[in-house]
Symmetry: C2
Subunit: 258 residues, 2 copies
Amino acid sequence: MSTELHIIPVTGIGDISPGADLGTIIYEALHRQDLRLQPHDILVVTQKIVSKAEGRIVDLDGIEPSAFARFIAEQSNKDARHVEVVLRESKRIVRMDRGVIICETRHGFICANAGVDESNVGAMHQLTLLPLDPDRSAQALRSRLQQLAARDRKDAAPDIALIISDTWGRPWRNGQVNMAIGIAGMESMIDYRGHHDPYGYEMHASVIAVADELAAVSELVMGKTERIPVALIRGYAYIPGEGSARSLIRDSATDMFR
Amino acid sequence: MSTELHIIPVTGIGDISPGADLGTIIYEALHRQDLRLQPHDILVVTQKIVSKAEGRIVDLDGIEPSAFARFIAEQSNKDARHVEVVLRESKRIVRMDRGVIICETRHGFICANAGVDESNVGAMHQLTLLPLDPDRSAQALRSRLQQLAARDRKDAAPDIALIISDTWGRPWRNGQVNMAIGIAGMESMIDYRGHHDPYGYEMHASVIAVADELAAVSELVMGKTERIPVALIRGYAYIPGEGSARSLIRDSATDMFR
């Protein structure tokens, strides 16, 4: 029933510019590795290249920091323009301490600096922002890849899933892990509640965030200093569905750590 | 540089009783699948079977709940003896609300119910507790497996790593994921700070909790209702080292969500 999983790094993607047809770029990279998309393949794509392709890049030179951003920046030895961009991407500050700003983003994600990032951008005065709607970005990328695959197969598009991931810290635990911020073609979680374990015990609290687990492992083949922004995961029987990374966001009523 | 990862479910482990030689049981299960341990293999083993083998099982019948446990249980419609066991495993209650008890365990882990679990135990009145020292459990299991592999290879033991995992919830995000609670033979994190990304930017906040990412993916081949308590991960170039899951615990000074 359970089968082996393969996590395959997709290489040769290169620099991504605003407006780039990311679907075609990924599709061609897969082909260069002799990888043809198969039903139930999952592609995990880092947020960074999606944001770049969508032009979600901000030049620090054009940013006028507010008084609050200047105050925060001064206290934490940061660039006030950078802080300003973080604030603009946020709808709420969850915690602020020692230069760390944990934000609730406009989408509702809770993460450091609202997902605003300065590494791997390529220009020293530029920042990347999270995609405006990462689920929609995932859907668009999935559709494009399916379209290309259908053309080559001269057949129906294979049912695949696509996850956009970002690298975030967690409370309580050191180190960052990759998490799913955009999902298309699969359910984000598996709900075992009401199922029975092998001993007949009905499980009460087992809802597994499989999309986050898939995002997490993709980081292991991507690394941070290598240019591998895409992983292909093969062998995982995801549950096809609309899916959404927003379903992974705990609502305020059940979150004891807001 | 980056290579393909294989995540292989290890089947046929069966029921584990207190005192079981878990190393031999896993080793024989690997052999039945024609898997020979190779250098840099990683085994991820669920906490549940480690706890069972170590006799970390509590019979509810013998538990006398305190007044506090009875009070909490009444409010949340729980078994007071179960709450009593959770309290005994805890050194601090982090949050308590609507029947959810987030505890700091004796080891320092922060998780719901101090890791006390009633599913997949096999007897309705029994609970499993986390191993007393999961790193030591991981080391012992790793040593035993290496010993068995060295005997069969008639050569030096292969350098392998071993992770004990458990399934925990997280703040802010719905769903649970597998995390590393015991580690042997590898570093728990990779620290990219001071390294430069492909654009020459020095990365400031990139410490990746690779052991958690390895634990996370293992859940995808284990599932919850199948009897697959072990996964073999092949192809990941972990950093050999002493390692410890305790290094993954954020200390109170840098944790804004205690």
